[in-house]
Symmetry: C2
Subunit: 261 residues, 2 copies
Amino acid sequence: MPSLTSVLGVLDPTSDRAVFRQIADALREAIDKGRFREGDKLPSETELVDHFGVSRMTVRNALSLLQQEGLAVSEHGKGVFVRPRPPVRRLASDRFARRHREQGKAAFTVEAEAAGSRPEVDNLEVKEERPSQDISARLGSPRKVLARRRRYLLDGRPVEFATSYLPLDLARNTPIAQPNPGPGGIYARLEEMGHRLDHFDEEIRARMPSPAEVRTLQLASGVPVIHLVRTAFDAEGRAVEVCDTVMAADAYVLAYQLPAN
Amino acid sequence: MPSLTSVLGVLDPTSDRAVFRQIADALREAIDKGRFREGDKLPSETELVDHFGVSRMTVRNALSLLQQEGLAVSEHGKGVFVRPRPPVRRLASDRFARRHREQGKAAFTVEAEAAGSRPEVDNLEVKEERPSQDISARLGSPRKVLARRRRYLLDGRPVEFATSYLPLDLARNTPIAQPNPGPGGIYARLEEMGHRLDHFDEEIRARMPSPAEVRTLQLASGVPVIHLVRTAFDAEGRAVEVCDTVMAADAYVLAYQLPAN
DNA sequence: TAGTGGTCTAGACCACTTT
DNA sequence: AAGTGGTCTAGACCACTAG
C-alpha cells in the first residue's frame, strides 16, 4: 500500500496556484497515471484533509472540480470514485437506411442485444399537442402534432430520451398513433402510407443538461448531453417527422460517412 | 426597480430541498422567465446573502450550480452574469465537398466573413511526430506522421482547435508540409498528388474539457466540447488524413444530411 | 456504530474592477 | 475607497452506507 505522499505528492506553498487547484491537479495526475483506475475509490475527504493539512472545504473544492470535469463521481456515504466509463453506443449514419427496417424489432433493441446489452424502452407516451415554435417551423407549421415520447435504457441505465413529432393530419387514426406502431417503426408505416422517405437532416449540439434532464437520464455531474434533432423528408420534399433526442454524452459516439463530391 | 422578493421569491423552510438548491432554482426560474437576460448581472453575493438570510457559502454554492449548468458566468471583481449565447457556427456536412475547394481561400475564412465575423487562424504548427496509438490505427499504422495544428478564432474568441495527421511518406516534401499549403488546402493538394478523395468518416463525441482545453479555447465553466475525428479516404480506400478537432460546444451546431436508402 | 459525503455557519483575508 | 468575487479556516449537524 503506497503512502498518499508517493501517490499525490505535497503542496507547493510558494505557488500562486490555489491550494484546492493543486490538490485537484495531484488527484488528476494520479488518475491519468493509472494510480487510480476506473471505479476506484479516491482517498476520503478526511484522509485528504490530514494529508494536505488543509480544511475540509478546500478538499471538497478540489473534489468538486474533478467532478465538474467528469473525472470523478461522489456517492453519498460511500466515497468519491474515479468515474467509470460506460460502454459507448455507436450510432452509424446509415441506421435509418431502409434495409434496416425489414426486420420486425426496433433498431435500438436489435442493436443493443447484438452488443450484449439488455435494452429497455419506457415512458411511452403518445399525445396530440400544439407544437413549439421550433418544431412547428420544421414541420411546415401544422396546427397540431402527434408527439411520441420514449426513454431508452441499456442494462438499466437511461441513455436517451426522444420525442418524435408528426403533423397530426398525417398521423391521426393510423398505426403511428398507436403505442406500438408495428414492425419497422413509424418510418415503415410512413412509407406504407405513401410517404417514401428521401433523406434526413440531423442537427447536433452539445450542452450541459437541464435539471430535468439530469433526473430523466440520471446523469452524473460533469456529463454533458448531445442534443440531436432529426427531420425526415419524403420524396415530395415534405417534412414528415421531427425527432428530438437528448442523449447522455458519455454513452454515445455518433458516426457519419460523407461523400467527397 | 422590482424588489428582489418579487423576482426571486422566498425560501420554503419546510422543504426538503437544500437551501442552496432553492436559491439556484429561484435564479434559474428568473432567468428562464426573462427577468434576467443574456449578459445581465445577477444580484451580488452580498445582496443574495441579505435577501435570503443565509451565509455566503450557501449563496456561492447556488451560483456555482448555475455556472456548472452553463447558465451563468462569474467575472472576478465585476459580478455574476447570465451567460451570453455566442453566435453559433453551423457546420454543414457538405463543407468538404470538392466544389467548395475551387476558391482560393480557406473554408473557415470564407464562411466566417460571409456570416459577418472576423476570422483568425493561429498557433500554426507543422511537425513530424510519432502518432498516438489511435491515430496510427486510423491511418494504417505509419511509423511517423505529419501533424498540422491550428486554432480558429471568431471575432477574437477561440472556437476550435484542430490537428491534421497525414502519413509522413505521403506528405513529406510536398506543399502539405508547408505552413500554408496553398489554395483549397491540403485536400486540394492531396487530389493533385493523385489521391482523389472518395469519402470522409466522422466520429462525434461530447465531453467536458480538460484543463488544457479550457485554456486553449478560453472556455467558461459549464461549456462542454465537441470532439470530432474525421478520416479522409482516397478512391483506393486508403486513409490519407485524420483530422482531430475539439470545438467549443456553445459555438457550433453540426448539420448532416443522410440519404434514406 | 463508524465512516462517508452533504449542507450550513460566521468569520477572515485576498485579488480584481470600478469610481 | 468601495464593491465584487476567490480562497480558506474551523467548526457544526445531518443523511447515507457499511459491517
